[in-house]
Subunit: 160 residues, 2 copies
DNA sequence: TAATTCCCGACTGTTTTAGTCAGGATTGTT
DNA sequence: AACAATCCTGACTAAAACAGTCGGGAATTA
């Protein structure tokens, strides 16, 4: 599972959708404005999200996008997987490591880590994230000081 | 955090070093042959690893590289950090999210995930990994926790 | 019919990845 | 001292991914 800004954009956009998802669809232009993401880029991302069955597009005036499922049935892992389509972690990039006969030294490590990250992200649904006080507030209300222990470049995405 | 083949190469090479680390240094040519990684590319990676203080280079015939510390004092997180030095500082790529006033929607999510992954990888040392297959069981027990499961006092980061 | 919106494919500039290459600098062996 | 092994450095490259841009459709509502 890859964790890039692309996936972050996707998650951010989906959260925006989830927040606005009262009844009427949300146009990309709105999301673009609110989240400061290029509209054309959003179109690319939503093409992927739609193909993954996570959103539905509605054309015409007052059209836009809607979540295809309930906010509590869409996990962050799914969103990221939809746009970061590179799933295979071929360890030896073409070498002998196919996990069968002669797994490379770190094979187990990466598969395990992958699972861990997936589980973590799969356990978080859009619905939880948008009603933060519980989820986000926890992550925001913390003791100061220990973040410095984590090298900046190890931090997923950006933190500031 | 970027989990790319680059970091995997680095970890694989370090594991090879750790396994061979009896007394004499290990030449890159050997690692290149055993792990099927281009020697020139290895030289680049080891330049970074050396600057990070993880290995020591010994020149001349029968030279090579040695771990700079005990195998049980080098974590996977450090190895990856040494080569994947990339920092992506802009949460909203130039937008308002600086973590201060108006953190973007997913700010807390990425911060927390970062910590989880870091903790996971920092908890695994080279010494453990080379002692497979016990390691796999161990690493599987080490779970990346869910947001809600993290004790508040352990949660760090910046706050809006 | 016209405006709005999704939809789609092709194109571009930059960065990263994964190397190659050419040449040092240092050191052990003969 | 000569030589070979090895690290060390910097510059270069091809391919891919990232982050868009652009132009033109197709569907739908007013």
């Amino acid at each position: 599972m890859k964790l890039t800004t692309k996936g972050r954009y996707a998650v951010t956009a989906m959260m925006d959708l989830a927040i606005q998802s009262s009844a009427s669809p949300v146009a990309l232009e709105e999301i673009s404005g609110r989240q400061d993401i290029s509209q054309s880029y959003l179109e690319q991302l939503f093409a992927l999200l739609r193909r993954a069955g996570l959103v539905e597009g509605i054309r015409g005036p007052h059209g836009g996008y809607q979540l295809a499922r309930d906010v509590n049935e869409i996990s962050i892992a799914e969103v990221i997987a939809a746009v970061d389509e590179n799933i295979d972690l071929t360890c030896g990039n073409g070498s002998s490591c196919s996990g069968d006969a002669d797994p490379c030294l770190t094979h187990g490590l990466w598969t395990t880590l992958s699972e861990q990250i997936y589980n973590f992200l799969h356990g978080i649904k859009l619905g939880e994230l948008i009603k933060s006080p519980e989820v986000l507030k926890i992550t925001q209300k913390r003791e100061v000081g220990r973040v410095a222990d984590i090298p900046v470049h190890l931090q997923v995405g950006n933190i500031n």
